[in-house]
Amino acid sequence: MGGRGSFDKATMSIPVEKRKYKTLDVVDGIKVIEDFESGNGKTPVMSNTADTVYAVWSESAGRIKHIFYYKDHVLYYSIDLEGKNSHAHNVYVDSKTGEIGRKTHDKKNRLELSPKEWIIVNKLEKWTKK
């Protein structure tokens, strides 16, 4: 897990020294991770594993705040865990610049969760760091 500039195309991975996240647990096949530097942090837009899902613990909030989905190492979908207001966003990659972000003024880009997503959100919201 890391930022846009942390991914090394030569090795198709994120070098160890640029990884800022550690794994805390695995819940239903989803790795629960945290930013070990800030305990809070920023959205990691690149993953070390090509196609994966991470749930991110926030030490500040005292709970999991996000689920991030990656395809070919790049973030493409995220869920914000906010209780009954939990919602999702599509994340886009600018093919010209490689910039990763959300599209603005796209009011449809605050997405309702599917029943399957609600199940995992409810489960992850109950998870607590030991």
Partner: protein, 133 residues
């Protein structure tokens, strides 16, 4: 490195001067060391930014999930005991506070956004950027 804050959070109490402003990971993400380009990279890709401005003791957020987007001062929790600075706001969700400005995609925030008489660039060099998501 000077200690700027010694009571940030229970799990991360000390913030040094070197931790203010954009950190190495932000620089890598933006692929630039230019503070303006880093700032523009994040907000123009619609990441919300929460920062603590050391010089006035307030948290602020550039909130990018609304239309228009908003910049607000995050409200302090009334029952905050003053022990840890980072505990004066809620982190569970976005807390709309005093809205200082609304803006759209075309706004030149770098030139126009100020807190008091300080530009956003000056403010961020004196701020702990706590969350970008």
């Amino acid at each position: 490195m000077n200690v700027v804050i010694d009571n940030w959070m229970e799990f991360h109490p000390v913030i040094t001067s070197a931790e203010l402003g954009w950190n190495e990971e932000c620089i890598r993400d933006a692929m630039s060391e230019d503070p303006k380009e880093i700032f523009n990279y994040f907000w123009k890709n619609f990441f919300s930014i929460i920062f603590y401005y050391v010089d006035d003791g307030n948290f602020y957020e550039l909130f990018m999930e609304s239309d228009p987007h908003k910049f607000w001062r995050i409200p302090k929790i009334e029952s905050w005991d003053g022990k840890y600075i980072g505990r004066q706001i809620l982190w569970e969700s976005h807390q709309e506070g005093t809205v200082l400005c609304e803006f759209d995609d075309d706004t030149d925030l770098w030139e126009t956004l100020k807190i008091g008489d300080k530009s956003i660039g000056e403010v961020l060099t004196r701020s702990y950027i706590a969350e970008i998501n």
